[in-house]
């Protein structure tokens, strides 16, 4: 058994590891320690949920439509380019 697998990580370190965890950028022993901490810590579980909520809300942001002028300009340029 790796000693790292039973390492107790403090909450303050957990929050710095959340991205590595979500990105799958952790080795197996660290992942085990991370998940063991989460299983016993509702606060860090809430933290992870807030990060996941942030990602979810960010995914609903839409970019503004192009201005009609820019859009028309692009189509005109396309026609110009395609003209034989």
């Amino acid at each position: 058994m790796s000693t790292a697998a039973t390492r107790d990580l403090p909450c303050q370190q957990i929050v710095e590891l959340v991205t590595d965890y979500l990105e799958g950028a952790m080795d197996a022993p660290l992942r085990t320690s991370f998940e063991a901490h989460l299983a016993g810590c509702p606060h860090c579980t809430h933290y992870l949920e807030q990060i996941e909520a942030t990602i979810r809300v960010a995914g609903t942001i839409r970019a503004e439509d192009l201005s009609p002028e820019l859009r028309a300009g692009l189509l005109a340029a396309f026609r110009e380019f395609r003209r034989p």
Partner: protein, 206 residues
């Protein structure tokens, strides 16, 4: 097959664009134009220059469509062309994003969560609360998150925009921005942490 094909919905449009179909071009402009403009605005100072960069990008797409081999998704290919053009413009303007360098991020000492929120020994002193799911759907919540993203340093903003707003994979984002996986992850970590802080503050205010 090791190569993933472009998303199904782009494939017929690409075929049509290759034979000069204007409607296909129009559909692609409507699908990706807004995202391209948003991305361009990270690199250049004014909206009008950003619009020029978008125009140059579409011209490059039309003239270079034969060179698109579908090794990446169309979206990633478009974003890559755009960032290259936008970077060139930004450099001419004397405005460059320090993507290659973490040291120039300007906030190396930042922690994901303010140190005051932890007790000695690193356990939570002021812990975060559960997420009120029903409030996440509100337009106001989205507006706050959008605002927090706009306030980020440009390189963090670019990474979180590509990853969480546009939904690119880590590999695609690295490819578009020309940065390493580690650099991408660090920037994403800082960006998400700051946006989470803003979201938490907003949700607790009510």
């Amino acid at each position: 097959m090791a190569v993933s094909p472009p998303p199904d919905e782009d494939a017929p449009l690409l075929d049509a664009l290759r034979v000069g179909d204007e409607r296909a071009f129009e559909a692609l402009v409507d699908r990706y134009g807004p995202s391209l403009l948003r991305l361009a605005q990270l690199y250049v100072s004014s909206r009008s220059v950003a619009e020029e960069v978008v125009q140059e990008t579409w011209l490059a797409v039309v003239t270079g469509i034969e060179r698109f081999e579908g090794r990446s998704s169309l979206k990633t290919w478009l974003f890559r062309i755009l960032t290259n053009k936008a970077k060139t413009r930004g450099q001419r303007e004397g405005r460059t994003l320090p993507f290659s360098s973490l040291a120039s991020d300007g906030d190396e000492d930042q922690t994901a969560v303010a140190v005051e929120r932890f007790a000695r020994g690193g356990a939570w002193a002021t812990p975060p609360r559960g997420v009120p799911e029903e409030r996440l759907l509100a337009g106001e919540t989205r507006a706050r998150v959008e605002q927090a993203i706009s306030a980020l340093p440009p390189n963090q903003r670019a990474v979180i925009t590509l990853r969480d707003v546009e939904g690119l994979s880590a590999e695609e984002a690295c490819n578009v921005l020309g940065i390493s996986e580690t650099n991408q992850r660090v920037l994403l970590h800082r960006a998400r942490a700051k946006v989470r802080t803003a979201l938490e503050r907003y949700l607790e205010d009510a």
